[in-house]
Symmetry: C2
C-alpha cells in the first residue's frame, strides 16, 4: 500500500530541510515587518543608536562575545536529538509545523505577556480563541447564552494543566459545605434552594459534597439571591466574607477538616497506567498520594471499568468523597486510551446512588486525535466513515472514548506534543467556564458570590487571565504559535485530522510488519506487541528464545537499545535509528495481566515480582521498546522501502546478531 503523502510537503521544514528557502524567506519578511514597525512607532524621534556604532570598540567587542556564544551554542546543538527526522521514532516529538514555528518565532520579537490584556492586547485574544478551538474539537458547547459554555487556556505543559484540574475540582467540591457553614454563622437559612428544593440547612454534608458542578453553581447563585432579597444588598458583603472564610481555600485543608470532623479526605482515582505527574499533583496540592487510588488496567492497558466500579463502591461505603476520576486519553508510556464513555456511565450510576465526582481526561498526548473524529461542521464523524480509511482504527472502544469527551468536565491537552508546536505549550480546557467564579484571587465583593445582574461579563473577566489560572506571566508567542497552527490546519478531519491520519497509517503499517518480523524471528526470539496500539504508539517486548528469566530479558533489551538511544558522546550520524523504551512496572499490573504479558514472551511469571531485590533472575519491571509514530515521513519511500521497513530490517538484524553473539 502506497501512502499519498504529497499533501504534507508544505507542512514542515522537512527531514532534509527541503522547505528551507520558503521558511527563510517568510521568517526574514516577518522579522523585517517587525523592525520597520519599530522604526515607525515615532519616526520623528530618530535613532537612539548611531549608524557608526558598529565601528566602536565596545560594539565590536560585544559582537565578538555574542557571536562566540551563539556559534558555540549552534555547534553544541548539533548534539541535539533529531526529532524532525523519520529515523527518530522514540519519544513524543517530531518536526514542527511551519505555521506554528513561524508564528512563535515572529511573536517572540513582540514579546507579549498573556497574564493580562494590558501586556498582550493581541495574543491574549488568540489564547482564549485557542481555548475555544480546542473546546470545539472535543465537542464542548461554546454557546454563551444557554447551558455550560466551555473555555480553555494554555499552560506551560500538561503537568500544570493536571494540577489545575484538581484545583478546579476542589474549589467546587467543597463550596456547598462552606455555603452552609457561612449561612449558619449568619443565622440565615434560605428555604427552597438547590436541586432538592429544600432549606440549605437540610442538606447533609454528604449531599453538599456530591452535587454536580452545575448544581453547585446554581446553588451558590440561589443562596446569594435569597440573601440579598432577605437582608438587602448592603448586608451582602458580610455574607460574602463569611462564605470566603469558610472555604477550604481560606481555611486550608487541615483547618477545613478540623472544622468538619465528620468529613474524610477526598480521593482521586486514576488508572495504574497514569503519568507520574498525578502522584506529584497529589503531593503538591496536599491531597496525599495515599488518596490516589490506582485503578487496575485491563489486557489492553486501559482502565478496567469493573475495577473502577469496585473502587467507587468502596469509597461510597466508606463515605470517602471522590474528588474526581481521571481517564487517560493516550498514556505517555503506551499510548493506550481509557474508556471515557464507561467512566461517564459509572458516574451516572454513582449519581443515582447519591454520589458525584468530577471527570478529568488527561489527553496530554492523545487530545489532538479528536480532530480526526470531528467533521468540519462540528459533528462527530461516523465510525463507519472512519473505518474506510484504516485497517483497524478506530476500535469501538477508542471511538466510544472519543465520542464521550464532550461530556467530561475538563481536559488536559498538550499542543507541544501531538500539536507539533514548539515547547512550552500545554492546555487546560473546561466544559463549564462558570468554574472560574470559584477561583478568583481578588476579594471582589460584587462578583464573589455570584449575582448575575451585577457581574462583569465572563468574556471581559477572562482578559485578566492571571486571576483564573495557576500561572502568572506567560508567553504570548506560544499562544500565537498554537492559534496560527489551528487556523491553518483546523481541528477537524479535513484539517489537522488529515495529518494525524498518516500517523495512524504508519502505526498500522508498523504493527503489521512487526507481526511478519516476529514470524521470521520465531526461532531466534519472542517478539510481541504487549498491547494493541490504540492510535499511533507501538511497544515491543523482545526475549531471546530459550530464556525464561525476566532479568536476562531486560538485560538483552537494554543491550539492543544501546545502539538506538540518544548518546551525546558520539556524532549523531552514527545512529541509524533512534527509539525510546519504557518499563512496565509489576506494581502497576494486576496479577493476571502481569502473568499474561511475560507469558507471551515465554518468561516465567514468577520472575516478575514487586520486590525484585533478593531473587536472582527476577525483575520488578519489563523493559520494552517504545515507538511513537508521529513523524508522517516514516512512510516516505526510497527505492521502494520506507523508514519503517528499514527500521525493522535493522532491528531484525540487531536481534539476530545479539542472540547469535
Amino acid at each position: 500500500m502506497r501512502h499519498a503523502l504529497e499533501f504534507l510537503q508544505p507542512y514542515f521544514l522537512g527531514p532534509s530541510a527541503e522547505n528551507a528557502q520558503v521558511f527563510e524567506a517568510l521568517l526574514v519578511e516577518l522579522v523585517r515587518d517587525h523592525t520597520f514597525w519599530r522604526r515607525n512607532f515615532h519616526p520623528e524621534d530618530g535613532p537612539s543608536i548611531r549608524t557608526s556604532a558598529e565601528h566602536t570598540g565596545s560594539y565590536v567587542e560585544f559582537m565578538d562575545r555574542m557571536k562566540t556564544e551563539l556559534y558555540g551554542l549552534s555547534a553544541e546543538l548539533k548534539r541535539a536529538v533529531p526529532f524532525f527526522h523519520p529515523r527518530y521514532i522514540g519519544h513524543m516529538n517530531a518536526d514542527l509545523l511551519l505555521p506554528g514555528l513561524l508564528a512563535g518565532m515572529t511573536t517572540m520579537l513582540y514579546n507579549p505577556n498573556n497574564v493580562s490584556e494590558e501586556a498582550a492586547p493581541v495574543t491574549l485574544d488568540k489564547e482564549l480563541e485557542v481555548g475555544r478551538q480546542l473546546a470545539r474539537m472535543f465537542g464542548f458547547s461554546l454557546d454563551e447564552t444557554s447551558g455550560p459554555c466551555a473555555w480553555g487556556h494554555l499552560t506551560s505543559g500538561g503537568t500544570v494543566a493536571n494540577y489545575e484540574a484538581l484545583w478546579n475540582f476542589r474549589s467546587v467540591k467543597f463550596h456547598g459545605v462552606a455555603l452552609k457553614a457561612a449561612a449558619a454563622t449568619q443565622a440565615f437559612d434560605p428555604p427552597d434552594v438547590g436541586p432538592r428544593t429544600k432549606a440549605l440547612s437540610a442538606y447533609s454534608t454528604w449531599e453538599l459534597l456530591n452535587l454536580p458542578l452545575s448544581s453547585i453553581v446554581d446553588l451558590r447563585r440561589a443562596v446569594a439571591r435569597a440573601y440579598r432579597a432577605e437582608r438587602g444588598d448592603g448586608a451582602f458583603g458580610a455574607f460574602a466574607a463569611a462564605v470566603r472564610s469558610e472555604r477550604i481555600e481560606s481555611l486550608g485543608t487541615a483547618g477545613f477538616f478540623m472544622r468538619h470532623r465528620d468529613l474524610k479526605p477526598p480521593c482521586l482515582m486514576v488508572p495504574a497506567s497514569a503519568h507520574y505527574s498525578w502522584e506529584k499533583a497529589m503531593k503538591v496540592l496536599g491531597f496525599g498520594t495515599a488518596n490516589l487510588i490506582k485503578v487496575d488496567v485491563d489486557a489492553h492497558m486501559r482502565l478496567d471499568i469493573t475495577s473502577l466500579r469496585a473502587a467507587l463502591a468502596e469509597a461510597r461505603a466508606a463515605t470517602v468523597p471522590v474528588l474526581g476520576v481521571v481517564g487517560v486519553l493516550g498514556t505517555t508510556e503506551f499510548g493506550t486510551i481509557d474508556p471515557i464513555d464507561e467512566i461517564l456511565s459509572c458516574r451516572e450510576a454513582f449519581r443515582a446512588d447519591g454520589g458525584d465526582f468530577g471527570i478529568h481526561v488527561d489527553a496530554a498526548w492523545g487530545g489532538y486525535l479528536a480532530s480526526m473524529f470531528r467533521q468540519p461542521d462540528g459533528s462527530m464523524r461516523p465510525r463507519d466513515a472512519m473505518r474506510e480509511r484504516f485497517e483497524h482504527f478506530p476500535s469501538p472502544q477508542v471511538y466510544g472514548a472519543m465520542a464521550a469527551l464532550a461530556q467530561v468536565d475538563s481536559i488536559t491537552v498538550d499542543p507541544h506534543k501531538m500539536g507539533y508546536v514548539p515547547y512550552a505549550a500545554g492546555a487546560f480546557v473546561a466544559r463549564d467556564r462558570r468554574v472560574v467564579d470559584f477561583l478568583t484571587q481578588k476579594a471582589a465583593y460584587v462578583f464573589d458570590l455570584g449575582d448575575s445582574d451585577q457581574e462583569v461579563p465572563m468574556g471581559q473577566k477572562l482578559r485578566n487571565l492571571g486571576q483564573y489560572i495557576l500561572e502568572g506571566s506567560k508567553s504570548g508567542a506560544a499562544a500565537a504559535s498554537v492559534y496560527v497552527t489551528h487556523k491553518v490546519l483546523p481541528l477537524h478531519s479535513e484539517g489537522f485530522g488529515h495529518l494525524l491520519e498518516q500517523t495512524v497509517h504508519a502505526c498500522e503499517y508498523f504493527y503489521d510488519r512487526v507481526l511478519a518480523m516476529a514470524k521470521r524471528l520465531v526461532d531466534v526470539a519472542h517478539v510481541v506487541v504487549p498491547f494493541e496500539p490504540d492510535a499511533n504508539l507501538v511497544c515491543l517486548a523482545i526475549n531471546p528464545r530459550g530464556n525464561t528469566d525476566l532479568a536476562e530479558m531486560n538485560r538483552f533489551g537494554r543491550e539492543l537499545f544501546a545502539d538506538m538511544k540518544v548518546d551525546s558522546t558520539q556524532p549523531l550520524q552514527v545512529k541509524r535509528f533512534i527509539t525510546s523504551y519504557t518499563s512496565l512496572l509489576r506494581d502497576n499490573l494486576p496479577d493476571a495481566q502481569a502473568k499474561r504479558v511475560v507469558g507471551e514472551v515465554a518468561i516465567d511469571p514468577a520472575s516478575f515480582c514487586v520486590d525484585a531485590g533478593p531473587r536472582p533472575g527476577c525483575a520488578d519491571h519489563v523493559f520494552i521498546l517504545r515507538h511513537t509514530l508521529m513523524n508522517p515521513w516514516v512512510l516516505s519511500e526510497r527505492n521502494g522501502k520506507n523508514y519503517i521497513d528499514r527500521y525493522l530490517a535493522y532491528l531484525e538484524d540487531r536481534i539476530r546478531t545479539l542472540v547469535g553473539g
Copy 2:
C-alpha cells in the same frame, strides 16, 4: 549630567531597530546552520519532499493559507505594546537582549525538551548551568564537596517558582515527624541522632518541626545509617516504605493532621505588599489563605521588622509552626525591597527560642539587581565603591538586603523580567540542593532514605529534572536563551550589572526631575512620590490642589492615565507615552501609613477606608502612576532632551490641562 550610553549600542535590536541588519544576518546564519544540519544527518537518505513540490496545487494552497494567517498575525501585532521603546515606561518590560533573543529563536528550531537529558542532551546542561550562574550572583556556595551546595532551574514564571518554594519547605518541615512516627511503627529507636544527640523518640513534635533544613537532612541520613547497622540492608526497604507512608506527601494534609492531632496548621508570613500569587499559592497547595500572615509594611513600603517579630512571637506562643517567611526583593507594584538581613536576624532570635522557619526571597522582579553588587571575582562589591556611581543608590537598607541573600534558603527570580529575555523564563534557586532528595517522585528504594554510599551522584540525578520540579515538559529554548545572555553579560557589576546601573541612573534622574516638577506644579496639584525608589521603579500620587476627596483624586488619576494606557482601538502612534498604574489598597496598609500617604497629597484620611462602598468621596485604594525604568534608552538625548524630560514635560502639561479644564 550626560550619561555614557554608547556601550549599550549592540545590546538590543534598538528602539528604532537600529541593529536590524546585524540581527537579521545572524538569525539567517543560525537558521541556515540548522537547516544544513538537517540535510546532513543522513544525507544518503535523500529528500522526502520533492523539489517540484512548490508547484503542486496542495502546496500552493497550504502556503496561501499559511501566509494569510501569518501576515494577518503580523498585522495584528502592530497593536502590540511597544515595550522596546523608551516611550514605554509602564510594566516590567523593555527591549530584549540580542544574545538571548537569538539563542531562543535558534534553539526553538531544535525544540529540546528539558524534562530530561534524553530529550535535551545540550540544553538541560545549560539549564543547570543557569541555576549555577544565578546561585553565584546571589552568593550561594557551589562547592560540591562541603557544606550546602546550591542548585537552580527555570520555571514558566515566578508564580510557579513561588509554589515550588512552599512545596520544598513543606517536604522538609514535616519530615522529622514522619521519621519518628515510622520508627515507632518498626519498634526502632536510634539512640544518639540529630542535633541534640539523643534518641529519636525523645524529640518532641515541636522540636522536629523546628529543626533547620540541614539538621533534617543530617537526621534523615543518620536514622537510615542506624537502621541499616541494626537490622541490615535487606530490611531497609520496609523501613523506607514506612517513612514514606508517614509523610505528609503520602497522607495528605488532612490525613497528616488527623494523625497528629496536637499539631496546628502551619502559617506563612509575607509582607502586605507581596504579589497576589502568594494567596494563590496558599490556596493551591492547600495551606489556606487564613494561614497567610500579612506582615505590616513600613513608611518605605518594606516589610516592617517589628511587626514580623510580633507575628513570630504570636505564632510561637500559639505553637503554630512557621513554614516560612517570604521577603520580597522588588515588589511588583512598587519596586521596594524588604530587609532580608533583618529577616535573617529574626530567624536567629527565633532559633534561639527553639523555633525555625525557611526563608524564601521573592526576587521575581529585583533578583537581577544582585548582579550590580557582585564583583567579577565573586565577592560583594563594597557599598562605598557603588555609591560613587549614584546619587542615592544603594541605600544602606538595600545594600544590607542584597548582602544577606547568600544566607536565605531559596529565591525566585524571573529572567523574563529584569533579565531582558523572552517569555516564559522564571527561575527557582535553592541554597541546598539536598532538598531534592525529599521531592523525588520515584519510589527508588536505595535513594529514598539517603544512604550516601549508594547514592547516585546529585549531578547525575538532576539530569532527570522532571523528578524534582513542579513542571514536566519544558522549553530547552528558554534555557538556551537565558544561558547565552548570562555568558555574554556575566552576572556581575561589569557585565549585567553595568546594564542595570543605567536603569538606576534613569530612576534617580526621574526622581530628581519629578521633585522639580512638583515644585513647579505647587499651585496646581500635589505631586508626590509615596515611597522613595529602592532601585528603578517610581510611583507618583497626584491630587489636584484643593481636593480632599480620595474618590475624586482617583477619578482625576484615571483621567490622566487614559491618554497613557494601552488602547488597542487606536493606532499605536497616537500614544505619546505609555505608563502603568497601581492601586494602593487600604487593606494592605497599617493606619499610620495610610494616613501618611494620603496626607502627603492633602487628602482627608477619613476618605481612605477599607470598605468604601457606602460613603461618598471615599475609596478603598489610592490610584497611583507607576513607572518602570527598565529601558536604558530613556536617557538617550535628542536636541538636549532625553525621554524622561520629555515625558515629564508631557505629564506636567496634561496635569495643567486637566486641572484647568
